[in-house]
């Protein structure tokens, strides 16, 4: 079935960007991954900033992987740069490794959809150069869908994207003094 789709005339890999200051950038990418997986595509979610931990998202994905190995999730980051006490060079090294990992996955032909989670943030915070990301886009096979998430997506990346959505914060519970809710916000 996958082969059928890949040989069809209509398969045009999309470069999708989720950016903006609102919630839902990563979450919508996870939803896309779920839908694509359900439709028979081979999916990789590669997290540039996040360092793993037992987030609900990881557990949810593990269930999909267990059901059918077409779903993979890898966390290659060291956490957000504004939190914790990880030296900047460690963040940069992790980002470079994730970049190499992403490139290998992109050219491997093993996936139909790859999510590069928080890669825009990695560029914004100087962990990666925008040229590194453009090179990834250029290396992409024509049928591969790529999703790039993170706030402040570089204009060069937006210029090369097919589908760009800005998640805009309209109202946030922090504003009303409500703490972040487990299972929902983290």
């Amino acid at each position: 079935m996958e082969r059928e789709k890949k040989s069809g005339n209509d398969v045009h890999g999309l470069v999708i960007v989720h950016t903006g200051d609102g919630k839902g950038k990563t979450t919508a990418a996870l939803g896309l991954a779920l839908r694509a997986w359900g439709d028979g595509l081979r999916v990789l979610v590669l997290q540039f900033i996040k360092s793993g931990g037992d987030y609900g998202e990881r557990k949810g994905f593990a269930a999909l992987t267990a059901a059918d190995g077409r779903m993979e999730m890898r966390s290659c980051g060291r956490g957000f740069t504004m939190r914790g006490h990880v030296p900047p060079e460690e963040h940069r090294r992790a980002a470079k490794e994730a970049l190499a990992d992403a490139r290998a996955a992109i050219v491997s032909g093993r996936y139909d959809l790859i999510v590069l989670d928080e890669i825009n943030y990695a560029v914004k915070f100087g962990l990666l150069r925008v040229e590194d990301v453009i090179d990834l886009l250029k290396a992409r096979p024509a049928a591969l869908h790529l999703v790039l998430t993170g706030r402040d997506a570089a204009p060069e990346i937006i210029a090369r994207a097919d589908l760009v959505t800005e998640m805009r914060l309209v109202k946030h519970p922090y504003q009303a003094g409500i703490k972040a809710q487990r299972g929902i916000e983290f």
Copy 2:
């Protein structure tokens, strides 16, 4: 574990709205559902407009349901009102039934998160009254998270929400003449 969370002091059910003209409103709700499920919450996705079919999202959810029954998805609609030839009164009847179903689920205590997918669209197109939706919000137990998706969310609903994100279309592949991609956009 669920009970632990529910008895904690920090559980404050959020009313979350995903609106706007961009992609990702339903998709982010599905991602939220996946994350919440992975975190041990009991989840229901109730689709007001969609009529089922074998979307990838349904197959993905079916895998989660099979892994652990805490995930349910129900499609109660008759499809988008602008497509097909379903008489308006049938759309309205389906929406009323979905509303009753939603109310029963909300007051049942059986769920920690309920997604009311496309309910904003149902209001916008006159299938439901905004007062019907406000009544649902009022009936909600304090610890229950509700996600309401669909473009053109009514101001009365936004006023009662804790977290509102507008998904704004920045760039769409239709603009470049690229057809919708299976597994990604539908």
